[in-house]
Amino acid sequence: MLLQRRTFLKMGSLATASLFVPKMLQAIIRKGDETLPAGNKVLVILQLSGGNDGLNTVIPVRNDIYYRSRPALGLAREKTLSLTDEAGLHPELTCFKSLYDEGHLGILNSVGYPDPDRSHFRSMDIWQSASASSEVWQTGWLGRYLDQQCKACDLPTQALEIDDTLSLALKGELQKAIALKDPRQLYNNSHQEYLKRLSEAYRAGHHQLEHERPVDYLYQTMAGTLNSADYIFEKSKAKETTTVYPKTELGKNLKTIASLILSEANTRVYYVSVGSFDTHVGQEGQQARLFKQINEAVTAFTQDMKDNRRFEDVLLFTFSEFGRRVAQNASNGTDHGTANNMFFIGGGLKQQGLLNALPNLEELQDGDLKYEVDFKSVYATVLKQWLAADDVAILGKEMPRLSFI
């Protein structure tokens, strides 16, 4: 553990040191020539914030312990969408059921990590930074991917978050991804005359610096944002999708992502969140509402990708910071738990359906599921086998990789 903590220290000081390394100011306006044509892989991450109840997502329909633990919340077998003799999907997830039938859905059960933390913000940090439970890392796994991808690049758009603020997951040591809610809004905000003027004047006056100072970092971030805003806006309009998406926030976000994919933007990772799944009280209605939104949005997105022959190139996965307890609580809800399932959607899956066994409800730890697969193995698999990146460098260690892609 001491060693791991030192790794963290190294990361922290690296980030600071980078400030003072001489580096060309990166403000050349790019023409947006870098693209990602068909055949290149794209990753879409859907974060289910708040801790989705995995046991009421993929329901163990033959398990007495499940029904005993959840007298009110347990979903009866005939209500679920049948996957196998033992497993059924939540009734709102009709699109996921179709994808399952087509061989475009993989379900990985019991994903988690050793020494699980039941605090939302801590567990989310662990998932987003890919640190061990005992470590605190200040960078995210996709941020470190971006560091690798965008070493001397001036357009840090290889990873984008569709939101107002940037998650830890997308903050690297040297690079931080761009977060945007709407390409037009970002474009408008960054297209004020004075910003462009400031940026250009600064570049003109300071191109031969011996030492990079904090003010240079600020201008670099600004120039990077302005360039990216132009690029993203241009790409979002170049081949705007014609598919009809639901008017929900997630619907709009997936539509933005689809348009960028179709116009072959150079972005390889898209990050988007939906919540809140923190269903301590009255879980049934809340989870069903959220699943309905997700189901509608994912229906449109997958159809869009199929129609445009990009489905083979797209992998969408879902995760949540933790699952919930096996037993329901006194308010017809569930409290914070541990291991959970993940969905993988795409036309390029090598393995489909249930990728491993349903969670073992007989062997619990303090009333919670034991994890079988470390989420960092999933990251390693996706980084190496989908994005062709150096998973060991990004994760700081070698994790066993899976074979579903």
Binding site: L19, Q192, R197, A201, V215, Y219
Partner: protein, 495 residues
């Protein structure tokens, strides 16, 4: 280029406080930085009044037993359990609101208090002793310890923090018992509070954890030593042997000179420069150690040194979101009808007081700035003046029990506009600034304001670009829009 007196004074006020105030602008060019620092010290000499925003409900609930069910002999176990859960929920909910008020009250002190140095030090220690528990009583108690001891002896501060309910709860020391030690508390005390990584062994942690067994707190936050779960046995910690208790461990840690070096390095990076001059830090650490950790003396050493005022240190600190927001309010006296917007901005910009991201506190420096946070910072001054709306949302912490979704109250339907956007509802009192500047020549005024607001060399922010935001119609619009424009530059993010 020689640094002039005014810039040096502004440098001092930006680092040792929250920047220059509109009402004191005239005095900045003739006074020497040393004299100015003396005034800062004097204004911070005695502890300021403790803040109290804990609601009567929480106070009462935390004063008694968890759930006084003596009158409810009829209740069965399940009903009692449910009643207790309900009470906890209510405490959480109310605490959440109380902590927001505490955050606002404290920010008001940072803006208006004469004790700028004390509040600035308190903000530093708030990040150093990072704790995130959703109990307003405990958080308020911890803040009180920090503000009272911010400039006193580090030993007292460390002891006060280590014995606070907030920290003991956050670092799980209630679960640290003789039969089943929990090392979290001991580890963070050594790693984050005092020695730093690499200056203790895993064995030291294990042994120190044994010494801290029995440290806990009562429901009302009072520290308690539970002898029954304390491990009385012999321990070897940092090379010394004995049947140490928690206090003895803190003494052992303070005897290590490394503790002085660790703290001085962190303080230097925070107050002087991210790039550490090991000679200067070594000198500070020697004196800090010999003064028995007198924080006030340490800060005096820093702020009266010649090197603090060297050009390489000026205008190189990226203001934290709280420094940034308090600084705007100091320069532009304003009334905020919707004070809670400040909490929203803390969250959006990444420094949500009382909610540090993890045990290590806020990383600071360039970590404050990404494309979203920078673009928002460049818009905030305009939002304040224009009474425009903010329609962006912070990441939810998605914890219903934490009440994350209730960040902002409806405010009588006035502060929250349809579509989820929020108004600043700020009223800036421009007369104070107008009077202080007393200047109508626009060229001169530009130079004056640039020097007051930006600590970078003149001309760093392109004048033609800045002027694009300036409305030259009248003297009044010129002054107002120029202030806002200069605040909307990358340079203004620095001090």
């Amino acid at each position: 280029m020689a640094v002039n007196n005014q810039t040096r004074n502004q440098h001092l006020l930006g680092r040792a406080g929250f920047g220059i105030a509109a009402s004191t602008l005239q005095r900045l060019d003739d006074i020497t930085p040393h004299k100015l620092y003396k005034r800062l010290e004097k204004a911070s000499a005695t502890p300021t009044k403790a803040l109290d925003t804990v609601s009567p409900f929480v106070k009462e609930a935390m004063a008694g037993k968890e759930m006084d069910d003596s009158n409810n002999a009829m209740m069965d176990t399940d009903a009692r359990k449910a009643a207790r859960a309900e009470q906890r929920k209510q405490i959480n909910k109310q605490s959440n609101a109380d902590i927001r008020q505490l955050s606002i009250a404290w920010m008001n002190e940072m803006v208006s208090s004469e004790a700028q140095l004390r509040e600035k030090m308190a903000l530093f220690w708030h990040g150093h002793f990072a704790s995130r528990v959703n109990n307003s009583l405990y958080q308020q108690q911890l803040l009180r310890v920090i503000r009272e001891n911010a400039l006193g002896s580090f030993g007292d501060l460390l002891r006060g923090v280590s014995k606070s309910a907030s920290m003991l709860a956050f670092l799980n020391n209630q679960q640290n018992r003789k039969k089943k030690p929990n090392e979290n508390f001991a580890r963070e005390v050594m790693e984050l509070f005092t020695l730093g990584r690499g200056h203790y062994s895993e064995k030291d942690i294990k042994e120190a954890a044994r010494a801290f067994t029995g440290w806990g707190f009562e429901r009302d936050g009072t520290f308690v030593f539970r002898e029954k779960v304390h491990d009385e046995g012999m321990k070897t910690i940092l090379g010394s042997g004995g049947n140490f208790d928690g206090d003895a461990v803190l003494d052992l840690i303070l005897q290590q000179k490394q503790t002085a070096l660790f703290l001085c390095t962190k303080i230097y990076r925070y107050f002087v420069n991210e790039v550490v001059d090991t000679q200067q830090v070594g000198w500070l650490a020697d004196r800090f150690y010999s003064s028995q950790y007198d924080i006030g003396k340490l800060m005096h050493d820093i702020f009266t040194s010649d090197w603090f005022y060297e050009e390489r240190n000026i205008g190189t600190h990226i203001k934290s979101p709280v420094e940034y927001l308090a600084g705007i309010r100091r320069f532009l006296p304003m009334t905020l009808r919707n004070e809670e917007v400040q909490v929203l901005l803390q969250r959006l910009l990444g420094q949500w007081l009382f909610n540090p991201p993890n045990v290590a506190g806020w990383p600071g420096g360039t970590a404050w700035i990404d494309s979203s946070s920078l673009m928002l910072r460049l818009r905030i001054p305009g939002l304040i003046r224009g009474d425009e709306t903010i329609s962006i949302k912070p990441k939810g912490n998605d914890d219903v029990q934490m009440g994350g979704k209730e960040l902002l109250p409806a405010g009588g339907g006035k502060t929250k506009k349809a579509g989820g956007s929020y108004q600043m509802l700020a009223h800036i009192d421009w007369t104070v600034l107008d009077k202080a500047l007393d200047e109508t020549n626009r060229e001169v005024l530009y130079n004056k304001l640039e020097a007051l607001l930006l600590q970078t060399p003149p001309g760093s922010a392109d004048k033609d670009a800045v002027m694009k935001l300036v409305d030259q119609t009248t003297d009044e619009t010129y002054l107002q829009t120029l202030v806002i424009a200069l605040m909307s530059t990358p340079e203004y993010q620095l001090c």
